[in-house]
């Protein structure tokens, strides 16, 4: 029975040792790095034809189908969510926890440990060790120790009276030894945040026409996700750089409606989303409702040559009157992206709102007089004969805004981890645990000073600092003479 138990604990020990080793850590680093490459070559969660095409390019037509079915069995087409990749991440985390637990007690002791006095012989064995003679009595040297310590970077130190003189001990940055553990812990925090987000959050989308309201979004699989409130798109607008087709800004004006009341209004752009009750709406895309073209509204400012102005909301086929004239216009066509080809024919060159234009036919006293395109982005097309103007200000109800909808309760945990990992890395690399011992004792009417120091990193910089401190007090001595 006892033997059994011993055997058990041996196995537990073995498992513990396995997970406590840095060797395992670097093996896991290598494995994660290497296998991750696969997912950057094969497209993840793509249609099978895409990856077969990629495999054909890489390995030739004859091998591709066989490889594809093999890779499919290994989950290579969705590898970051495959059982074996998740297993790697789990081993990584267990390794991180156990490795840290194994070492933490020792490091904690190192950080808390007070300094012990040392003998001259011990001091002389330090790699970082200096010895100088200062002229004059020990009392004088005692005063300069304070400056020495300050120059070497220690504000606090303790003094011990010894047989022949004094010993001073100082240390700082003890807790910087924990920086590594903060780093490691924060990696776990980030992973926990990611899991929280995947478990309790969702990702979806919502295409919302101008003027429309919705209380659901859709998952990528097409499932309905209830929001718990309504969101309305009041308007969508796109702005371009100058006359080019390069978009400068996509903007949606959204209103949140809860229990019949408007509770929040915000215009969102890419990089500036709207959040309400943990659900965030991102400007992701936009598009035209081609089946709705007939229902869209054009907002025109009609200004007569005499200066009388009027704002009208019109639809395709509507007729309007230029104030105080007998001229009327009828909107007979619409193009979201008008371009005129070399032969003077108008055509629509994309299915997006790159250059909205309406075709208006004008009648004077009932008979057709002239007609032409009026372009929203080209005010020079707004001017008519006789000093009248038809200003194409806006259009409404033709576009929908494509919103990315997300709820992620874990994101703040992830960000907390990010802050901690930055702090931890900064401490781990740029702050060191430094210890210094200074002894002074009388030596034939003069004073001998012995200095010994250790630092867990950046020894060269520490030594430079100590050298500076020494030469500073030596200078002072010379001047004082």
């Amino acid at each position: 029975m006892r033997l059994e138990k011993e055997k058990d604990s041996k196995i537990v020990d073995k498992i513990w040792d396995f997970f406590a080793s840095i060797r395992l850590a670097i093996i896991i680093f290598a494995l994660i790095a290497l296998t991750s490459i696969i997912g950057t070559i094969l497209e993840q969660r793509a249609a099978p034809e895409r990856n077969i095409e990629i495999l054909e390019r890489l390995f030739g037509k004859s091998l591709a189908p066989g490889l594809y079915s093999l890779f499919e069995k290994l989950d290579f087409m969705d590898m970051y969510h495959s059982w074996w990749f998740i297993t790697l991440l789990v081993i990584f985390s267990v390794n991180l926890v156990i490795c840290s637990l194994e070492r933490l007690p020792r490091i904690w002791r190192l950080a808390r440990e007070p300094l012990n006095p040392v003998t001259d012989e011990q001091l002389r064995k330090f790699t970082l060790h200096k010895e100088i003679i200062l002229k004059g009595k020990i009392e004088k040297a005692r005063e300069s120790v304070h400056e020495m310590m300050k120059k070497a970077g220690f504000r606090n130190y303790s003094e011990i009276k010894e047989e022949k003189g004094f010993q001073y001990l100082a240390q700082k940055g003890n807790y910087s030894r924990l920086g590594v553990y903060v780093t490691h812990l924060s990696i776990l925090i980030i992973l926990v945040g990611a899991i929280l987000g995947m478990t309790f959050g969702f990702k979806g989308f919502l295409n919302l026409p101008e003027g429309a309201t919705s209380d659901i979004a859709f998952s990528n699989a097409g499932r309905e996700i209830p929001l718990g409130f309504f969101v309305r798109c009041d308007n969508f607008d796109i702005e371009f750089y100058g006359k080019s087709d390069m978009p400068k800004e996509y903007r949606s004006w959204l209103t949140i409606i809860e229990d019949g009341k408007e509770v929040l209004r915000k215009s969102i752009v890419v990089n500036d989303p709207l959040t309400y009750k943990g659900i965030t709406f991102y400007q992701a895309s936009y598009g035209l409702l081609s089946e709705n073209l007939g229902r869209s509204i054009f907002i025109l400012d009609i200004i007569s040559g005499g200066g009388q102005a009027e704002r009208l909301n019109l639809r395709l086929g509507d007729t309007f009157q230029i104030p105080a004239t007998n001229i009327s216009g009828k909107i007979i066509d619409f193009s979201p992206a008008l371009r005129i080809d070399d032969h003077g024919h108008a055509f629509t060159y994309t299915n997006q709102m790159n250059n909205p234009a309406i075709y208006v036919e004008f009648f004077e006293s009932g008979s057709r007089s002239f007609s032409g395109w009026i372009l929203k982005r080209y005010p020079e097309t707004w001017q008519l004969q006789g000093g009248h103007r038809v200003e194409f200000r806006d259009h409404w109800g033709v576009e929908y805004t494509g919103l990315h909808v997300r709820k992620d309760p874990g994101v703040w945990v992830v960000y907390l981890g990010c802050v901690l990992i930055s702090v931890g890395l900064f401490i781990a690399f740029f702050i060191s645990h430094r210890k210094m011992w200074v002894k002074i004792h009388e030596d034939k009417n003069n004073t001998r000073m012995i200095i010994g120091a250790v630092s867990n990193k950046g020894r060269a910089a520490f030594e430079r600092k100590i050298d500076q401190a020494i030469s500073a007090i030596q200078k002072k001595y010379e001047r004082g003479k």
Binding site: I22, R23, A25, I26, F29, A30, I32, A33, S36, I37, G39, T40, I41, E43, Q44, R50, E53, I54, R57, L58, Y80, A194, K203, Y241, M246, P247, K248, E249, Y250, V269, V270, N271, D272, P273, T280, Y282, Q283, A284, H404, V405, R406, D408, V411, V414, Y415, C418, I421, S422, L425, F426, F429, F430
Partner: protein, 360 residues
């Protein structure tokens, strides 16, 4: 005079400095060394001026305010910024360690990056930013990534030097590693140079890689030339492997202590790693989160950043294991920078070509 004048000046200065540093390496005259440093400093000042001028040009053009107009928006500008950081880092090291011989290893990286711009006709035009790129997080992300890349480039240079100066046995895996890496590097450059001379094309890098790269050599339609290219590449690799140790003799002349090389490699990575973590990974994630609502989506660029990060984590932890300090981790530092290059160029140039719809 506009920014392009000063950019041209700095490119010429760095390439000249590269030649002078190599000459210095060969003859070891102090005067030559001072000349090399002076030329580098001139190049650096010219480049600094050029960056400031371009910044102002962009701010005037885009009307987006000063900070948003930082010249870091495309391949061209980011390469220029990378070179700037690299030279700055190098000058600091030259000053601190009072040793010029690293110059011969750092200036080629700078010169090559700038030559890459000119050979490939990378677009130098100032372009306004599309909505997704209008983000201060993105700006911080790009700036810090490049500072980290420059630190990694330094560690690559000193890591390579470390390997050269500590290996000579031809069967030593570390020796085989550095001679092959160096050989492949040179072969790729030469093969691309020949492509360039034959086709005389000035096209976008993506198009060059898809339609021209290695078409004069390893991918030539004629099987004969193809075979000859592969054969000469192998012979070249053999020669480098056979005679590579002579480089060690050159380095020995300078009595650079390998310990110092190892230390600079570690210190560069110790500076680069936290900056890369914060700027490269975290700020990148925050930007993606703001713009699209996903802080991590395993897209190839993100994944390659993570791979790079793991390689350097490997380096840092490898140093703590017995028997790994020295040559083995120096190899890892070289591999880390290969991953950096791939993250930066390979993902856009190679993988996007592979993923393009029906391009063959």
């Amino acid at each position: 005079m506009d920014s392009s004048f000063f950019f041209g000046l700095s490119t010429m200065a760095y390439i000249l400095a590269m030649i002078i540093y190599i000459t210095y390496l060969a003859f070891r005259r102090t005067q030559i060394g001072i000349l090399a440093t002076s030329v580098t400093v001139i190049g650096f000042v010219a480049q600094t001026l050029a960056i400031i001028m371009r910044w102002k040009e962009f701010a005037d053009l885009s009307g987006m305010g000063f900070i948003r107009s930082a010249p870091l928006t495309n391949l061209y500008e980011s390469l220029v910024f990378f070179v700037w950081c690299l030279i700055l880092g190098y000058l600091i090291i030259e000053f601190k360690f009072k040793n010029r011989s690293f110059g011969a290893f750092v200036t080629p990286v700078a010169g090559l990056a700038l030559a890459f711009i000119d050979i490939f006709g990378v677009s130098k035009e100032i372009q306004p930013l599309v909505p997704a790129l209008q983000s201060n997080w993105l700006l911080a992300h790009v700036t810090m990534s490049f500072i980290a890349y420059a630190a990694f480039a330094l560690s690559f240079s000193t890591g390579t030097m470390y390997l050269i100066s500590t290996t000579e046995k031809k069967r030593d895996p570390s020796y085989v590693f550095w001679t092959t890496t160096l050989g492949i590097f040179v072969i790729i450059l030469v093969a691309m140079g020949i492509d360039f001379l034959r086709f005389k094309v000035m096209v976008k890098p993506e198009i060059f890689i898809q339609s021209y790269m290695f078409r004069t050599s390893f991918l030539h339609p004629s099987p004969l030339i193809k075979a000859a290219s592969w054969l000469s590449a192998i012979i070249f690799l053999y020669i480098i492997w056979r005679y590579g140790y002579t480089l060690k003799k050159v380095l020995e002349k300078f009595s650079i202590n390998p310990e110092i090389l190892d230390e600079i490699t570690y210190k560069s990575i110790a500076v680069g790693f936290p900056i890369f973590t914060l700027g490269g990974l975290i700020f990148g994630a925050i930007w993606a989160d703001q713009a699209w609502g996903v802080y991590w989506s395993w897209d190839p660029k993100e994944t390659w950043s993570l791979i790079t990060w793991f390689i350097y984590a490997f380096y840092l932890h490898g140093r703590m294991m017995r028997g790994w300090r020295g040559k083995k981790v120096a190899i890892v530092s070289v591999l880390g920078f290969v991953a950096v290059i791939f993250t930066y160029l390979g993902v856009n140039l190679l993988l996007s070509g592979l993923h393009a719809y029906g391009s063959k």
